[in-house]
């Protein structure tokens, strides 16, 4: 890093770290998360894990252990392969396989089609309900308890091709990075604007540009803001990770943690996208800040840019399906591309090549926006009035 850039970045970081407002904003977020966690923890105590059997739900059971009586419904004669085939063909919605060694292994298997992103599926407990219903006609209550307690139903999500499906597990990390980027926009936007406008608002831009070039001043400010944003993001992520680790055996958090699928390439690309998107956003805010001379003017100009950035969230449903022309445009339009790419990556509706092209578009846009901010700050350093389009022209 150039020494001027470093000096500017150091000054900007240290002065922000000294401000109580920075720490208030930083620590408020984990407190909010803690509050939300507490509320959700309380509310999950009442989650109904014993769903009722819908009349339309088609169920099949292979009972190799002979648990069910001869007149029990849903029992089929076919083996496990046959049952799984029925699920693939759509003949049944839920298929349960009770192996011959069920009494020892205490494990039954549950197969259903899952291409979506549902976190919890308690349909596996339908087997328990059916077993109790069936047993109650034949044995006393103590036997029912012995029969239906202490066994595990292994949830096997499959796709229509019969392959194991873990859409949510694959989506968790890209979505987490997407949410982090969204938080970054929410937390840092105002500071990006103010840090650039401040020099003009305080009439210090001429003095400072006699000592340092606009290039190093702007790049230094961007680096500082990214570092500060990172501090705030870490303050957000670390408590979440601690909560997850502490509650890894929780009935709600445990299954999510277990299903996380780590794809090194996808994570690498997601992190890269987060970095270039942050620089692009910082460059955009800095450019807007360099055009105007007051924070008030700046906030009215940055609004449309932020709306364009979060635009894909309004079309979330569209991103879950086969990408149409609107999704394609949002994927390659620099402002909407960061969140569009993160969504498509999460929903698994983008190829690696498409993702890389989108990433490149954002990276090039980030460089262009930073360059525009540098030039604009130099040209508009002495524009202390309201924004006029002529100030955008080469002076």
């Amino acid at each position: 890093m150039n020494s001027f850039t470093f000096k500017v970045a150091k000054f900007e970081i240290v002065r922000q770290l000294k401000k109580p407002a920075f720490w208030a904003a930083t620590l408020l977020m984990p407190l909010l998360i803690g509050g939300i966690y507490f509320i959700s923890f309380i509310s999950t105590q009442d989650v109904d894990m014993n769903p009722t059997i819908d009349e339309d739900t088609k169920i099949a059971i292979t009972d190799d252990a002979g648990i069910f009586g001869p007149s029990a419904p849903f029992i089929i004669n076919g083996d496990k392969e046959y049952g799984v085939e029925m699920v693939k063909n759509g003949e049944v919605d839920l298929y349960f396989y009770i192996p011959a060694d069920f009494a020892e292994s205490k494990k039954a298997e549950f197969y259903h089609i899952s291409e979506g992103l549902e976190i919890f599926n308690f349909d596996g407990n339908i087997l328990k309900a059916l077993m109790m219903q069936d047993a109650s006609t034949r044995v006393d209550e103590l036997d029912i308890l012995a029969l239906t307690s202490g066994y595990e139903i292994v949830d096997n999500k499959i796709n229509k091709e019969g392959e194991a499906s873990n859409a949510l597990g694959k989506a968790i990390i890209p979505f987490a990075i997407g949410i982090t980027f969204f938080m970054f926009i929410a937390l840092c936007g105002n500071r990006f604007l103010l840090t650039v406008v401040e020099e003009k608002e305080n009439r210090i831009s001429e003095m400072i540009l006699t000592s340092v070039s606009s290039k190093h001043l702007i790049v230094g400010k961007i680096i500082a803001m990214l570092v500060l944003g990172l501090i705030q993001i870490l303050a957000l992520i670390i408590p979440v990770l601690i909560l997850v680790i502490i509650n890894r055996n929780n009935q709600l958090i445990g299954p999510i943690v277990a299903m996380i699928e780590v794809d090194p390439l996808a994570i690498f690309l997601s992190v890269l996208l987060f970095i270039v998107s942050s620089v692009f956003y910082a460059g955009t805010c800095t450019f807007v800040g360099s055009l105007v001379s007051t924070a008030k003017d700046a906030s009215s100009f940055i609004g449309p840019a932020i709306i364009m950035m979060v635009f894909p969230l309004y079309f979330m449903q569209m991103f879950m399906m086969e990408p149409n022309i609107v999704v394609q445009i949002m994927t390659y339009f620099p402002f909407s591309a960061p969140i569009a790419l993160m969504l498509r990556s999460g929903f698994g509706t983008i190829t690696t090549l498409e993702y890389c092209i989108g990433l490149l578009v954002v990276a090039i846009s980030a460089v262009i926006m930073t360059k525009l901010a540098i030039d604009s700050f130099q040209k508009n350093a002495i524009n202390f009035g309201t924004l006029k389009l002529k100030w955008l022209k080469k002076r």
Binding site: N202, E206, L209, S213
Partner: protein
Amino acid sequence: MKSIVEVKNFQMAFDGKVVIKDLSFEVKKGEVFGLLGANGSGKTTTIRALLGFYKPTGGELLVDGKKYNPEDTNVDVGYLPEERGLYRKESVIDTMVYFGELKGIKEPREWALRYLERVGLLDKVNEKVEKLSGGQQQKVQLGLTIMGSPKLLILDEPTKGFDPMNRRLLIEIIEELHKKGTAVIMITHYMDEVEKLCDRALLLKDGVARAYGTIAEIKKEFGGKSLDQIFVDVYGEENE
């Protein structure tokens, strides 16, 4: 004596309106140079073009033989602009240390403390700038401008709004720097300051040089009149 500033055939136009017409002058190393003229005559525009804030429509403006770039020059420049301020939310010492670091001073904190002691602001070291009075802020601004004893000092209406005490202090500091070999360009409306401090001067009217030379030469050219009277005569021409 070699020139530290050379302005050659400088022209400047905004939206097609010419504000500086073929202006040429030089500032020699170690001299105090007065840039004079009424409001809107082109003084500040010339300085801003010299420091790269404006791109000239024509001609050349050089500092030590090349276009000014703060990071690629052998000449430390201190500039007190007409529009000046400070980081209002920062402490005095943090602001001064930051500028000192940007100017490449080895011990910026020590330099700042010595300066603040001299101007009677040592007790305000950790005070936020916004808590200082207007006069105290001006002293801090001046400190930022002269940090590191620059080879070229450009002061745009430096005594504007100064009380007599601060004005005297500023003049003392300019004289000290001059003795150390600093070249000073001073934009001012106070002709007594020009007569007291400046070796040479340039009088601008509507972007055109109306008088240029040593103070004695200018006076001689206008029949031995005082600078005040010369100023009034030049700007009174239109009314006659």
